[in-house]
Each structure stands twice: as structure tokens, then as C-alpha cells.
């Protein structure tokens, strides 16, 4: 398959764009693979890509119940960052961010990664101290972070109201290398690149059962027949427990919904990602001009992929409180994604009680930025049958051992993370 | 030595006069001075409690979602096995404590709760700006009560008469923002503070 480039676009333009081929093949499933990855979202496709690219394992199938990239990959707020406090988390996300930084070139696909800066505003001493602890943890782990004062916030985002809100802005924790990426393109880019390396991406193929013998995985049953594989990876955000149920074990996950919103298209207005520290709200502007924004969980389990009014009201109210100029703009569309919420807010990339079954799951609402890192570590864990040091702590067993990775101290409550 | 008069939480803001538009039928707002006592019935003592209530206050405990008045004291259902007694003071808490020894826990909330009365034809429409309950005559009415949230602030609401008049009881430390909301919500019709 020919590579994408400006030159190729030029040539195709002269030929009426008739020479373009599908971005990935639509193969029928084979009877067996070396590895089957369940879930054709960003994480599953990235897993397949890195299995092929890093570990040379190319006899891989990605099984997707519907279309690739239509789960949380296609319904998030596109933010990329690594500004976590715990070293177990920030080192992982930093690895992911570094992968993002070269992703266009590794995939040969423009995912429109834009390092426009991510600011977390703080409004009081306690929040500032927490921001300092987090930012210093980042710096000591070699990750870029800055503390900016009110003037710094004003310079980055002049329309933020520093004074008049309920909670005046004191400053912000800034990660300049953070930013946004075009979410759909991430799925398509990984699919395109994995496909080019021989991975079979099989859409409309629902997994209906797990085949295991003697505690070891042998393959999966699907709506398109049985597929054998000695190794199976799960990457099915929001539906992890449905799949682990098939494999016979329960996991510390509860599925919650998170809403997101986009405004009408506007000329450039907000040049960075801003997070309000005094109410769940964050906003950035897409390359197409829409303000992409969101807030907190709706607060109860749901697989419904649709939000509710009270949380939306809160998001809009927080937005207009932080940036009063937003009042006259219009919300265009709202949607919701279903989240694997964990009892400490951190994720799982690990082996499971079933030999040969691996998982990347429990992404809460941090899944998009993790996409390349999750795929990379999941692929490593599958290929080596052991975790990489970046995901060694992110096991299912950590609660049994009392080694939680609770960034914010919110406790063992799925809905509070 | 008798205690000095308590400071009302809204003393500084609820000064008499008109707020908002000079509408033809403004919302009338007043701040009745009340004693408010929370009563929580002990497990398995419901019948004895009802008898004590009848004996001391001349009424049965109100059913869920309702109020009952016995003389100068009104009882408002607030939770399973829980009531708020309100009435002119002094000494309501002591009376209740004596009446319900061994039958219920009694906590004086006279300072912890602030009651605002709103009245007039605009009352329902104004309340609808923050109250999520259906206060239509078919769904609510005098003698009905509800614990709810109005404008993000917890509120015990009960209807007094057909004017209609409603009593709104909120936590005293949140009375000021609640009052601010009420005046804002009523500004289109006008708010007359007694």
C-alpha cells in the first residue's frame, strides 16, 4: 500500500483522486492467529501496531464488534498530557506522550497532534500546594511542568476571568508539551499502519465467548466463528467486565458515563487546553474551530452512551463562570462515553487470572492520551508474558495487596474517581 | 439573666422594601421568627411516640410529605421517622424533649434553620426557577411538604395556604445565597420584603 504524502495528494488530485485505496483492508478472519486483540479502538489497534512494529508479531487479528474507533476513541475530548503526580502514572503517561510526539512519523498518518499546552488552574492554597506536589513530581521524573501565576494564565488564555468568578484564579500548573490530537485519526492511523504491517483488522466481529482449557486461553468464539490464539489481549474500554465475565472472573471496574460537548465552529479563541480547578470543566478548541469541552461523571453506572441534563448544566455553568465570554456562544452537540472506572482512578495493563489473557482496561477518563502508551505496554506484556516496568504496578491484584495508585485520594469509590 | 435576642442570618440583607421590577402582583417575602426542633423517633416506639405527640401537641405525627398543625405548633414530615416541629418560642425544644423522653431524639435547630415565607400569585412561577417539584394545585397544596433542593441548596418546603404561601426552610449558613437567588428569581415580578 502506497504511503501518504503531500506529493501523493498532488498526484492524485491531478488524477481525480481515483487512485486511493482503502486505508486498511477488510479481511475475513482466519482460523487462528498468534495473538488476538479484542477491541478495535485506539488501544486495541495500537496494541496490534506495536506487536508488529516492536515485537515482530504480525500474525495478529484485531476483533471489533462494530466499527473501529467508534467507542471512546471517537467520543472523547482529545486531550493529551502526562501531568500526573504518582511516578507510576506520570512515567507511563510521559512514555505515551513521547510516543505521541513522533506518532505522525511512525504511523505515516497525520493525527494532528498539537502541543498547545495544558493548564490546570488553581484557586486556593490547598490546590496550589497539590499542583506544586504534582508538578515537582513531574519535574523530578524528567517531565516538563511549570507553575504560572495569574499573569501567566492571562497570557496563555486572555479570556479567562481571573477575578470576578466565585473562585478567583491564583495560577496554574502548565504542561507545554500537552495538547490535543484528532481523535478519529488516531484510530485510523493505527489501523492504517497496523494493516500495512500485516495485522488483520476485522470489523463487525463480536466476541461471544472465551475458549480456555486448564486455566489457559485457547482462543475466542465470535459472531464470525471460532478463532484460535494462544494469546488474547482485551482492549474494550467500558465493556471490560462483560468480557472478563466470559473468561470467568470479576474485576474492580464499574462502568460510568462521561459527557462531552462541542460548540459551533469559531475562529481561533482558545489556544490551549484549560481546566477549571473549582468545578469540573475543561475546554480546548479543535482545528475545525469547535470548542470541545466536558466535565465530571454523571455519577452512576451506565452503558447508555447518553448524558443527562444536570451534569451538563454544571459544565456549562462552570464554563461561563471561568470564561464569561462563552455565554453568547452555542453548544452544538453533546454525547457521552462509557468509562471503565476503577477504585483508585488508575488503569490496568496486566496479565489476568487466565493464562495467556491480557488486558488494558480501567482507563477511567484518561484513556485517549494513553492510547500509544497503552498499546505499547500491552503489546510488551503480551509479547513477553510479563509487564514492562512502566505498567508493573498496574495490576488487578493491587487492591488485594493494598497498593492503590490513588492520585487524588478519593478512595475506593468508582464514581468518585 | 435572659439571653439577648439572636441575630437573624438575613438581618443584613433582607431589609424591607421592593426589589426588582415594580410588578402588579409582586412576591411577598417575610421572615417569621420560629423555633424549629428536629425529632427522630426511636426504633419500635412509633405508637408510643404518636400517643405522646397527641398528648403534648394535640396532633398525630404527619404522614410522609405532609404537615399537621396543632395549635401554635406545626409538625412537618422530613424523613422516615423524622419530623420538624415549628412554632413560636420560647421553649419548644424543651417541651419536645420532655414529651418524647425515651421515644425520640430531639435536637433544637432553631438557629440552624432559617425560614422564609413567600406568598402571592407569582409564588409558584418564581419557585419554579429553582424548585424541581410540581407545585401545581393538582400535585401539591396546603398541608403538603417536601424536602428538596432549590437552586442547589437543600430546602424544606411546605405550603401554608392557597394564596399561595409557602414556607421555605434552609440551613442558616446558606440562607444568604438562598435569599439572593429568591430575590433574583422574583425580580421580574418584583419582590416586596416585609
Amino acid at each position: 500500500m502506497a504511503r501518504y504524502s503531500g506529493l501523493r495528494i498532488l498526484g492524485e488530485g491531478f488524477r481525480g483522486n481515483s487512485g486511493w485505496q482503502p486505508a486498511w483492508r477488510k479481511p475475513a478472519p482466519k482460523a487462528s492467529y498468534d495473538v488476538v486483540v479484542i477491541g478495535g479502538g485506539g488501544h486495541g489497534l495500537a496494541t496490534a501496531f506495536y506487536l508488529a512494529e516492536v515485537h515482530g508479531i504480525r500474525n495478529v487479528a484485531v476483533l471489533e464488534r462494530g466499527l473501529i474507533g467508534q467507542g471512546n476513541t471517537g467520543r472523547n475530548t482529545t486531550i493529551v498530557r502526562s501531568n500526573y503526580m504518582l511516578p507510576e502514572n506520570n512515567n507511563f503517561y510521559e512514555h505515551s506522550l513521547k510516543l505521541w510526539e513522533g506518532l505522525e512519523q511512525s504511523l505515516g498518518y497525520n493525527v494532528m497532534m498539537s502541543q498547545r499546552g495544558v493548564i490546570n488552574l488553581f484557586h486556593n492554597d490547598a490546590q496550589r500546594n497539590a499542583a506544586l506536589r504534582r508538578g515537582n513530581s513531574m519535574r523530578l521524573n524528567g517531565i516538563d511542568a511549570e507553575i504560572i501565576d495569574r499573569e501567566g494564565v492571562k497570557a496563555m488564555c486572555p479570556i479567562v476571568d481571573l477575578d470576578n468568578g466565585r473562585y478567583p484564579v491564583m495560577g496554574g500548573l502548565l504542561q507545554r508539551r500537552g495538547g490535543t490530537a484528532r481523535h478519529d485519526a488516531v484510530a485510523w492511523g493505527f489501523a492504517h499502519a497496523a494493516d500495512a504491517r500485516g495485522v488483520d483488522i476485522i470489523e463487525h466481529c463480536e466476541v461471544t465467548g472465551m475458549i480456555a482449557e486448564g486455566g489457559a486461553i485457547q482462543g475466542v468464539r465470535t459472531s464470525r466463528g471460532e478463532i484460535r490464539a494462544p494469546k488474547v489481549g482485551l482492549a474494550v474500554a467500558g465493556h471490560t467486565s462483560t468480557l472478563t465475565e466470559m473468561a470467568g472472573f470479576r474485576v474492580p471496574i464499574e462502568t460510568h458515563l462521561l459527557q462531552a460537548f462541542v460548540s459551533e465552529g469559531l475562529k481561533p479563541l482558545i489556544d490551549c487546553v484549560v481546566t477549571f480547578g473549582a468545578g469540573h470543566f475543561y475546554v480546548s478548541q479543535s482545528d475545525k474551530g469547535g470548542l470541545v469541552f466536558g466535565g465530571g461523571l454523571d455519577g452512576y453506572p451506565s452503558y447508555g452512551q447518553r448524558g443527562t441534563l444536570p451534569e451538563a448544566e454544571h459544565v456549562y455553568a462552570a464554563g461561563v463562570s471561568m470564561i464569561p465570554a462563552l455565554g453568547r456562544l452555542r453548544g452544538l452537540r453533546s454525547w457521552a462515553g462509557v468509562m471503565d472506572m476503577t477504585p483508585d482512578g488508575s488503569f490496568y495493563i496486566c496479565k489476568t487470572p487466565v493464562q495467556g489473557l491480557y488486558m488494558t482496561a480501567g482507563w477511567c477518563y484518561g484513556g485517549f492520551k494513553a492510547t500509544p502508551g497503552s498499546g505499547w505496554c500491552h503489546a510488551w506484556t503480551i509479547a513477553k508474558d510479563e509487564p514492562h516496568r512502566l505498567n508493573a504496578a498496574h495490576t488487578l491484584d493491587r487492591f488485594r495487596e493494598g497498593r492503590m495508585l490513588d492520585e487524588r485520594g478519593n478512595g475506593p469509590f468508582f464514581w468518585a474517581q | 439573666m435572659s439571653a439577648p435576642e439572636a441575630t437573624h442570618p438575613l438581618a443584613a440583607v433582607a431589609t424591607p422594601g421592593l426589589r426588582g421590577a415594580a410588578g402588579v402582583a409582586p412576591l411577598r417575602v417575610s421572615l417569621p421568627v420560629r423555633e424549629t426542633v428536629q425529632v427522630m423517633v426511636r426504633r419500635g416506639r412509633e405508637e408510643a411516640f404518636a400517643a405522646a405527640m397527641e398528648a403534648s401537641f394535640g396532633m398525630a405525627p404527619p404522614a410522609p410529605g405532609h404537615t399537621l398543625a396543632g395549635g401554635a405548633v406545626t409538625a412537618i414530615w422530613i424523613q422516615p421517622g423524622g419530623f420538624m416541629l415549628t412554632g413560636a418560642g420560647p421553649g419548644l425544644a424543651e417541651r419536645a424533649a420532655l414529651a418524647f423522653v425515651g421515644l425520640a431524639a430531639v435536637e433544637d435547630q432553631s438557629h440552624g434553620r432559617t425560614t422564609i415565607t413567600v406568598s402571592g400569585p407569582a409564588a409558584r412561577a418564581v419557585l419554579a426557577r429553582g424548585c424541581r417539584l410540581d407545585l401545581h394545585t393538582r400535585a401539591f397544596g396546603p398541608g403538603r411538604a417536601a424536602m428538596t433542593q432549590i437552586a442547589h441548596i437543600g430546602c424544606l418546603l411546605h405550603q401554608v395556604d392557597d394564596a399561595p404561601s409557602f414556607e421555605l426552610t434552609v440551613f442558616s449558613t446558606l440562607a444568604e445565597p438562598f435569599f439572593h437567588w429568591l430575590v433574583e428569581a422574583g425580580s421580574g415580578d418584583g419582590v416586596v420584603i416585609a
Binding site: 465493556h239 467486565s241 462483560t242 465475565e245 470479576r250 474485576v251 474492580p252 471496574i253 464499574e254 462502568t255 455519577g299 452512576y300 453506572p301 451506565s302 452503558y303 447508555g304 443527562t308 441534563l309 444536570p310 477504585p343 487492591f399 488485594r400 475506593p412 469509590f413 468508582f414 464514581w415 | 410522609p64 410529605g65 422530613i78 424523613q79 422516615p80 423524622g82 424541581r132 417539584l133 417536601a146 424536602m147 428538596t148 433542593q149 437543600g154
Partner: protein, 91 residues
């Protein structure tokens, strides 16, 4: 938006309530060990379908309720007080 039928107060908007987790798990007795408490606190069936769950009518009568709610359609089929039991139907 959920309209939750409180058995004491009638149907109210979801903002008056606070979700408090799976109601099919019960706190183990004092002699139970780490594994029992681990399962109680952390492991969830997380059904895609009917779930029995704890809610508190926190801005209303403050009662803890058990709801039988569908996690896809959000339909609420039954509500019970804290001490009543709820039968959870199959998927």
C-alpha cells in the same frame, strides 16, 4: 435525566440523590478476612443490564434506598427501602 421514585417522597429528579454503589454486596462480618473485604469493596459484577444499587435521597428524606435499574436503558423497575430485598432478574 433519572426520575427516581423515592418510596417516601415520590418521584424526584436525580440531583436529589447520590449513588452509593452495588447493593448486591454486603459488608462481611467482623471475622471475615482480607479476601472477603476485598471482594466486598472492589469486585463488581458491573452488569450491562439490571443492577441493584444503593442510592441515598440525600437532598430529600436522606433515606438509603435500593433501586433496580437497567444500566443501558436507565429504566427503574423497582425500589426498596434499605432493609427490603430486591430480586435482580437475569440479563
Amino acid at each position: 435525566m433519572l426520575r427516581i421514585p423515592c418510596p417516601h417522597c415520590g418521584a424526584r429528579d436525580e440531583i436529589e440523590f447520590t449513588y452509593r454503589g452495588d447493593a448486591t454486596v454486603a459488608r462481611p462480618g467482623p471475622d471475615a478476612g482480607v479476601d472477603a473485604f476485598h471482594d466486598y469493596l472492589y469486585l463488581r459484577t458491573n452488569p450491562r443490564g439490571w443492577q441493584a444499587e444503593w442510592w441515598q435521597h440525600s437532598s430529600g428524606c436522606r433515606a438509603f434506598l435500593k433501586l433496580l435499574r437497567h444500566t443501558v436503558t436507565h429504566e427503574i423497575r423497582a425500589v426498596a427501602t434499605a432493609t427490603e430485598t430486591l430480586e435482580v432478574p437475569g440479563a
